[in-house]
Amino acid sequence: MRRVTILQTAAEAVADTPDGATVLVGGFGSAGQPVQLIEALLDSGATGLTVVSNNAGNDDHGLAALIREGRVRKMICSFPRQSDSWHFDAAYRAGAIELELVPQGNLAERIRAAGAGIGAFFIPTGFGTPLGAGKETRVIDGKGYLLEYPIRGDVALVAAHQADALGNLVYRKTARNFGPIMAAAAETTVVQVDQIVPAGALDPEHVITPCLYVDRLVRIKRDLAVSGASL
């Protein structure tokens, strides 16, 4: 049995992340990226990390800062190169970071499989392409498939909109992205949320991530006011 712990600071929430850990980091670009948890991980000094995330950091914050400081040994992602991925680009060109490039749907399904107890699965995406090279294949009903394995995390860092006191989660718009599947795929799931409400305050029909996937919660105030968005 694991029950959620509500912590006061992002620092406490990630303090015990060991060197060499595999860290699942939610977000699609900046949307849903748990920036304060990542920056707390940076402050914790953890290094030699394998980071699993759709992108390889934007601008100078969050994941980009972790990469800039040389804490990431390996990046598993689908889309590292963006207009503002300069810290990853520099590390990659300097040979300072390993890249495993995974088609986005295979990345999502491999994470989902880890949380769902699937040992491996056949998937058509990537068959016959360089990203399928060296993988086991099978032809099923005339169509080629690759055998893909789950991606598990030691830690998942996720951003959600609301949690109740038990750790049930609700997300906001496209910031949901990898959150629900990463929350299920890690040994320890740490979630930063905009609001924590009493148990029973969330409509059970609207809960996206049930509380049994969540280990640690920390409330981080976000200022969306500048954008006109209301929480």
Partner: protein, 217 residues
């Protein structure tokens, strides 16, 4: 050789939009394909899917509409339309692979006569590859349309016998919309349906694959 003047990007986007049946579920790739949305009739009932977890995506957000939690696949702030829904990434890609999207429109470096697609990596040393959702989309949608200029900067056609760039997917493209012609990849070969500022004869000289004249179909 006289310079060929084909369609501009905006006109090409309008032609692609006109070929999307009303009520379709559609994913528009990053870049040129995104502009197809500007030409979809408001009453067409076409619903746009974005791979980062949304169906019913609206136009780009401006000013007060901008919400950092609501972006498209290119991370551009967008809006939601009535009837929109949100879902997580594994569901979003299951939606593609499961064949639930009618059409996706993608850009390309090359398309082969067999409909193989190369769109994600130049393969040049030093280039950082980034595949994103292109492989999943190309394979998963019921029909994959490509939008690209027919000729590369050095004047060679990007519709080829065999792709020389790294592949995105095998035999996945059904139509290729270019500035000079519209091609459909059909069981009996590559059929030219429309030509723009060029005649069929001259087109065959530009492209190094057998073409079937379908311009009168």
């Amino acid at each position: 050789m006289t310079t060929l003047i084909g369609l501009d990007h905006d006109t090409l986007a309008r032609i692609v939009a006109a070929d999307i049946p009303p009520g379709s579920f559609v994913n528009l790739g990053i870049g040129l394909p995104t502009t197809v949305a500007n030409h979809l009739a408001p009453d067409s009932g076409v619903m746009l899917h974005t791979e980062n977890g949304m169906l019913g995506m609206g136009p780009q957000a401006h000013g007060d509409q901008i919400d950092p939690d609501l972006v498209n696949a290119g991370k551009v702030p967008v809006t939601e339309l009535p009837g929109a829904s949100y879902f997580h990434h594994a569901d979003s890609f299951a939606m593609m692979r499961g064949g639930h999207l009618d059409i996706c429109v993608l850009g390309a470096y090359q398309v082969s006569a067999a409909g193989d697609l190369a769109s994600w990596h130049t393969g040049r040393p030093g280039d950082i590859p980034a595949v994103g959702g292109a492989m999943d989309l190309a394979l998963g949608a019921k029909q994959t349309f490509v939008m690209m200029s027919l000729l590369s900067r050095d004047g060679t056609a990007k519709l080829v016998r065999q792709c020389t760039y790294p592949l995105t997917g095998l035999a996945c493209v059904s139509r290729v919309y270019t500035d000079l012609a519209v091609f459909r990849i059909e069981p009996d070969g590559v059929v030219v349906y429309d030509v723009f500022g060029i005649d069929f004869g001259r087109l065959t000289a530009l492209v190094d694959i057998p073409l079937i004249d379908g311009t009168s179909r």
